[in-house]
């Protein structure tokens, strides 16, 4: 049996792009996440998925029965159908943020997982991509779960709705990438709590429950700069079949978020563990 040695494997990367940062092995951090996930507590995994579903039932059907219909770009839809896209985007965000912030913080500072990974021939970009891909995967699972709840309820009004799944992946990728980058710069639990302080208002005011046109113009501008507003607008547009130039802008926003996040995560992991 001919087995390639660790050295031969590492040397085969010489001359490839980003050779110092990337060993072409995103699969191995992913495999590690899967091994750890198999024995993790399922109830915690489930809680992140349940949150938007609970919001849908209480707001969508509870508050919704008081409101009646909503109009979005001339279309009249039920209140539940109006908030469902926002909650789908939130599911994707929650899944991605859960793994890419607190879990990453713990792996950097407590379990020293990345330190042990980077003592091998892996590069910082392998670790960043592997961890982000895992967080993205969780975002996707949450989004799929949410779709499985809302579709039978008749809240998806257009065939375009199927595209909400890839949109959710993009959103999860953006949040996972950006979340990990920010987390890698955090030094204490207090700083980490700032993320939570930021997340709740963003969830409440980014247009998940009502159009942001209720706010004065300058507040609208602030909200439009935030990622969740782009996520919600993207998914809502797709699910209601209102696709246009705005859709493209939202997509570009997330592509930029992904790139920035990957760049800073790799830079920071290198600085922390390989300098």
């Amino acid at each position: 049996m001919i087995t390639k040695s660790a050295v031969a494997i590492a040397e085969s990367r010489i001359g490839k792009p980003l050779e110092k940062y990337f060993a072409g092995r995103v699969n191995s951090p992913l495999e590690r996440s899967w091994l750890a996930f198999k024995s993790s507590t399922w109830i915690i995994v489930l809680s992140g998925f349940l949150e938007p579903v609970l919001f849908l039932f209480s707001f969508g059907f509870g508050v919704g029965s008081l409101i009646g219909g909503m109009t979005s770009n001339g279309q009249t839809i039920s209140y539940a159908a109006y908030i469902a896209p926002g909650l789908l985007a939130t599911s994707a965000m929650n899944g991605a943020v859960y793994d890419s912030t607190w879990n990453v913080f713990w792996k950097i500072n407590e379990s020293k997982l990345y330190q042990s990974m980077l003592a091998t021939s892996l590069g910082a970009l392998d670790v960043a991509l592997g961890e982000i891909a895992w967080a993205l995967f969780r975002g996707l699972i949450y989004a799929l779960g949410f779709m499985a709840v809302v579709t039978p309820l008749g809240l998806v009004t257009s065939w375009w709705g199927l595209l909400a799944i890839p949109a959710a992946v993009l959103i999860a990728f953006g949040f996972a990438s950006f979340g990990m980058a920010i987390t890698s710069y955090m030094k204490s639990y207090q700083q980490m709590n700032m993320i939570n302080i930021f997340m709740l208002p963003m969830f409440l005011f980014s247009g998940s429950f009502f159009p942001i046109s209720v706010y004065p113009q300058f507040i609208q501008w602030i909200i439009q700069a935030l990622p969740l507003w782009h996520a919600i607008s993207l998914v809502r547009g797709i699910m209601l079949g209102q696709v246009g130039i705005a859709t493209l802008i939202h997509i570009l926003y997330f592509v930029a978020m992904i790139c920035l996040g990957l760049f800073f995560t790799t830079k920071r992991l290198t600085a922390l563990f390989l300098r």
Partner: protein, 308 residues
């Protein structure tokens, strides 16, 4: 003679104003077990991390198997097995999974790792614990697993940073036995320690470091011969009287060290020295004649004891 595996010339690491490693030179040959001995903060771990290609040097030259860690970090790390000072095993995984995934980080095939795991479990004496989560292991077991993990990729150099710190005496001896076996198998060992007995047991050759500099270099026996005498007499007169007695006994021996709790008198014939002192009218509370160790070498070189 084959060219050395590790060559350091004027190797230096500074953090702002602070110089952690200060222009040090050393070579490590293939199959050697090479030790870095010194107190905490001497620069041992910093040196290890530079060799491990996880820390960039400030200046000087460093090559590992002819490669510069600055340019070929991942390629150098593929040659190394690293056992860090603090265990960083994967607490969410079992013993076997830890070995498996570490091999995967190097890109090794599943089949290769599966075979290797059996060999390593036996080596680390952890066959019974294969499906246990690592958090449930004792300190000694964790350290053995960390060493086994470092061997998954069949490294040419195994680097151990303070391998037995924090372990009880029995666990230390088991670990020494395992490391001795590796040495016999021809694995190059590079280890740091602040335990003298460990250095004497495991290191064929060592450098004594203090404040980022190399104070001395040689085999344990050479260092003892060069910087100390064959034997040492330890006397305790009680903390108030030690200083006074040290003054009185100054001319009786080759060299004298006064520590807060005892006086050390160096001589090639400890028993004769002790009986001379006793017949001279001194009445120590306790007295002990022992062979000198690296601890005494360190004391002689720096005027301070190693473990403070």
């Amino acid at each position: 003679m084959s060219s050395p595996l590790i060559v350091a010339r004027q190797l230096t690491k500074t953090y702002g104003e602070f110089t952690a490693v200060d222009h040090i030179d050393f070579d490590v040959a293939k199959g050697e077990s090479f030790g870095l001995l010194g107190p905490n903060g001497a620069g041992k771990s910093t040196t290890m991390r530079m060799i491990g290609a996880t820390l960039q040097r400030t200046s000087g030259e460093l090559t590992i198997l002819g490669k510069d860690p600055e340019k070929l970090g991942p390629q150098i790390r593929a040659h190394l097995g690293v056992v860090p000072q603090q265990d960083n095993l994967d607490g969410e995984l079992t013993v076997t999974e830890n070995l498996y995934i570490y091999g995967r980080y190097f890109g090794l095939s599943k089949k290769f790792i599966k075979n290797k795991i059996e060999e390593l479990l036996e080596f680390a004496q952890l066959e019974e614990k294969r499906n246990v989560k690592v958090d449930a292991l004792s300190g000694g077991m964790k350290r053995r697993l960390t060493i086994a993990r470092g061997l998954v990729s069949e490294p040419e150099i195994l680097m151990l940073d303070e391998p037995t710190t924090g372990l009880d005496p029995q666990a230390r001896h088991i670990l020494w036995d395992r490391l001795f076996r590796l040495k016999e198998l021809g694995v190059t060992l590079l280890l740091t320690t602040h335990f003298m007995d460990e250095a004497e047991q495991l290191c064929g050759r060592l450098i004594v470091m203090d404040k980022g500099k190399i104070m001395a270099e040689g085999s344990p026996a050479e260092l003892i011969r060069k910087y100390s005498t064959k034997e040492v007499v330890e006397l305790r007169f009680g903390s108030e009287k030690n200083a006074e007695m040290a003054e009185k006994l100054h001319d009786t021996c080759d060299h004298i060290e006064q520590l807060p709790d005892r006086i050390l008198l160096y001589s090639d014939d400890g028993e004769t020295l002790l009986s001379n002192i006793m017949s001279g009218g001194a009445h120590p509370i306790t007295s002990l004649v022992r062979r000198t160790s690296l601890e005494d070498v360190f004391l002689k070189l720096t005027g301070r004891s190693l473990v403070e």
